[in-house]
């Protein structure tokens, strides 16, 4: 009996290659445990939702997509090993990891094997290494900061600005990008206040920012610190605009800062609350499927999969190299590819540009108040 089973299993294995030709294999290499759990799970769920829809509609070039999912444990070393394994299994494309630290090391494997790799990572360095197989599913600081700078100067009309940033890679990177973007503008930076990660008392930092008497204060710290800064700003009676990037109006900050979060304004690259019918429909589909509302990582995974589909269809054959090449300079319109949710274009580095949103916290909820055009459009 046992032997018969083994024989059967071997036979099944033997017939796999024939089957594989009929399917397109995609590997999800994501954070399903550790600090990246939320991001990774949302990203994976987004990819799988798109795959189910694509398969139901007849697949890509008539072939079904087959996904496999593995857990990086939010660990770069594990991510690298799993990517190597996926490469050995001859997948057509890799989705993930989402964490910048992980993709920075794992993308060497997909690059060597010439496999397109879509990431949710947002560190600027990912696409500055000349890797022709890496593609983003969201903005970097290098795209987001010029957008927010444009808003500060043109819409908020702030002539003077105080900066409060956190002194780590994330905070310094963002601060430098913003300063560069504001260099030639009408807005002058009048106070540049560095704070520590995990800092608790922000009274001195806020006081310094306030003393310079700016038209607005820009806050660029992680979630908990942002909440504390907002509380301190309220305490010290600050009533002029508080502006941030993504983090400042995130659900976590609102939850932690409570009342003090109201009125904070921030640019966000992706949000399920965007006033776009396709995005609303996606939000509803996702919630129906998984019984919760996704953050931006679900959108990254979902749209990433549809971008891959569009690129393959453009090339017309299952050729990884040709697909990666076609991705550079690719311009996609929602009218032709509804699954991408928003018009998007990729540059030669694998970075993308598209609409983004301005949000404000009102009554403890993040609300989209405006749509900001892509950087390439003036």
């Amino acid at each position: 009996m046992k032997k018969a089973l083994i024989a059967l299993a071997v036979a099944a294995l033997g017939s796999m290659p024939a089957l594989a030709q009929q399917t397109i294999k995609i590997a999800n290499i994501v954070e399903l445990s550790g600090p990246g759990t939320t991001s990774g799970t949302n990203f994976k769920n987004g990819v799988e939702l798109a795959v189910r829809e694509i398969n139901a509609a007849g697949g890509i070039l008539g072939r079904r997509i087959e996904t496999s999912t593995v857990d990086t444990q939010s660990n770069p070393g594990v991510a690298k090993g799993l990517t190597q394994k996926a490469v050995d299994q001859d997948v057509f494309a890799v989705f993930g990891p989402v964490f910048s630290g992980s993709i920075m090391v794992s993308m060497a494997e997909t690059r060597r094997a010439e496999i397109p790799n879509f990431t949710g990572g947002e560190a600027a360095a990912i696409t500055t290494q000349g890797n022709p197989y890496i593609f983003r599913t969201s903005f970097t600081q290098a795209t987001a900061m010029p957008k927010i700078a444009r808003y500060i100067t043109d819409q908020a009309k702030a002539k003077t600005l105080s900066l409060i940033y956190v002194n780590n890679d994330f905070g310094k990177g963002g601060r430098d990008m913003l300063m560069k973007a504001l260099e030639k503008s009408q807005t002058k930076i009048v106070a540049d206040v560095s704070t520590e990660s995990a800092q608790v008392d922000f009274s001195a930092a806020v006081l310094r920012a306030r003393q310079a008497n700016p038209d607005a204060i820009f806050v660029y710290t992680n979630e908990e610190e942002s909440a504390r800064v907002l509380r301190e700003l309220r305490k010290q009676g600050w009533t002029k605009p508080v502006i941030g990037e993504t983090v400042l109006t995130s659900q976590k900050v609102i939850e932690l800062a409570g009342e003090a979060a109201n009125g904070a304004v921030a640019h966000v690259g992706l949000t399920v609350d965007a006033p776009i019918p396709a995005m609303r429909a996606f939000r509803a589909k996702f919630e129906r499927e998984y019984k919760y509302i996704t953050d931006h990582n679900g959108i990254k995974g979902y749209t990433g999969m549809y971008v891959l589909k569009a690129a393959i269809e453009k090339v017309g054959k299952l050729d990884r190299k040709a697909v990666a090449k076609a991705m550079h300079g690719l311009k996609l319109r929602v009218a032709d590819h509804p699954g991408i949710l928003m018009d998007v274009e990729f540059d030669k580095n694998g970075d993308l540009d598209r609409d983004s949103f301005l949000t404000e916290v009102r009554n403890g909820k993040q609300e989209v108040t405006a749509t900001l055009p892509p950087l390439s459009r003036k």
Binding site: P35, E196, D201, A205, R208, K235, E255, L256
Partner: protein
């Protein structure tokens, strides 16, 4: 001038938070001659316990009482039996190293459960008081008041009650205390139980500001240790003084020197005190048999 006052008041508020954690250091030292480097985590765990009970539907006061019960058992009795008792005869160094290890284990244990920051309900209403251009939140004032009460109560208990004096006697000379008929193991157990209760009280006051997070005890524990040394390790009032000095010093340095040096202030004060007054500002020289 208003700015200076504002900074000072904020510093006092932060300082009283440090003081609450520092109180545990001075208590354990005065009454059992041990140093617990997991003191910050001893505040973090009750915070999560309260969040857990609250998530089960318990109102905050009930969650607090339940947490005290659990804390006395785990952070009091189990900590004494599991870590301090077996290592006591190997001297202080063994306990210090063990508690450092324990703090790492506790942090990462909680991290597996949740790596996120959790908001924590405040005991005090979300109100701002404006006094002569200076804004003080009700929570800041309340924390300071609570810290004062706890410090005075602890000091009074140790100095004025029979049990308290017996506990100090045990720490100063265990053998003589035993000869005098003091129940040594019971006194030491009391010390750890009281430390656990203080940690719960600190958690209740500190967490609305720090948020419930696995690593909230890390900086809190370090600052509290510095505060305790600056104020005087063998004096509970020293914990409060040390905490407030560190809190104010940090704020003034951040505003008038550079925010980048904020975290160095506690360390600099610590070194100055160690060099010139090693027993701490309010501490007294003591001889003890370890």
């Amino acid at each position: 001038m208003t700015d200076l006052l504002q900074l000072t008041f904020s510093g006092i508020a932060t300082g009283s938070i440090y003081a609450l954690a520092a109180l545990g250091f001075t208590l354990l030292w005065q009454a059992s001659g041990t140093i617990n480097f997991a003191q910050g985590e001893f505040v973090m765990l009750p915070a999560f316990a309260m969040l857990f009970f609250a998530a089960q539907g318990a109102p905050l006061p009930v969650a607090f009482v339940l947490t005290i019960a659990v804390a006395v058992a785990v952070l009091g009795w189990a900590f004494k039996r599991g870590v301090v008792d077996p290592l006591f005869r190997h001297g202080m160094m063994a306990i210090v190293v063990a508690t450092i290890g324990l703090s790492i284990a506790m942090r990462n244990g909680v991290r597996i459960y949740s790596a996120d920051a959790h908001p924590f309900p405040s005991l005090f209403a979300d109100k701002l008081l404006r006094v002569g251009g200076v804004t003080v939140s009700l929570a800041d004032a309340g924390t300071l008041a609570f810290a004062l009460v706890l410090v005075v109560a602890t000091q009074a208990f140790l100095a004025r009650t029979l049990t308290g004096r017996a506990m100090q006697a045990v720490a100063q000379n265990t053998e003589s205390a035993a000869v005098l008929g003091i129940n040594v193991p019971l006194m030491i157990l009391y010390t750890f139980a009281i430390n656990a209760v203080l940690a719960c009280a600190a958690a209740l006051l500190v967490t609305p500001v720090y948020f419930g997070k696995f690593d909230m005890g890390e900086s809190l524990g370090t600052k509290a240790f510095f505060a305790a040394v600056i104020g005087g390790f063998n004096n509970s009032r020293g914990a409060l003084l040390g905490g407030v000095i560190v809190g104010i010093g940090e704020n003034l340095a951040a505003a008038y020197i550079s925010p980048a040096y904020k975290d160095a202030v506690a360390l600099a004060l610590f070194m100055v005190v160690i060099l010139f007054k090693p027993q701490g500002l309010l501490g007294r020289k003591e001889e003890r048999k370890v």
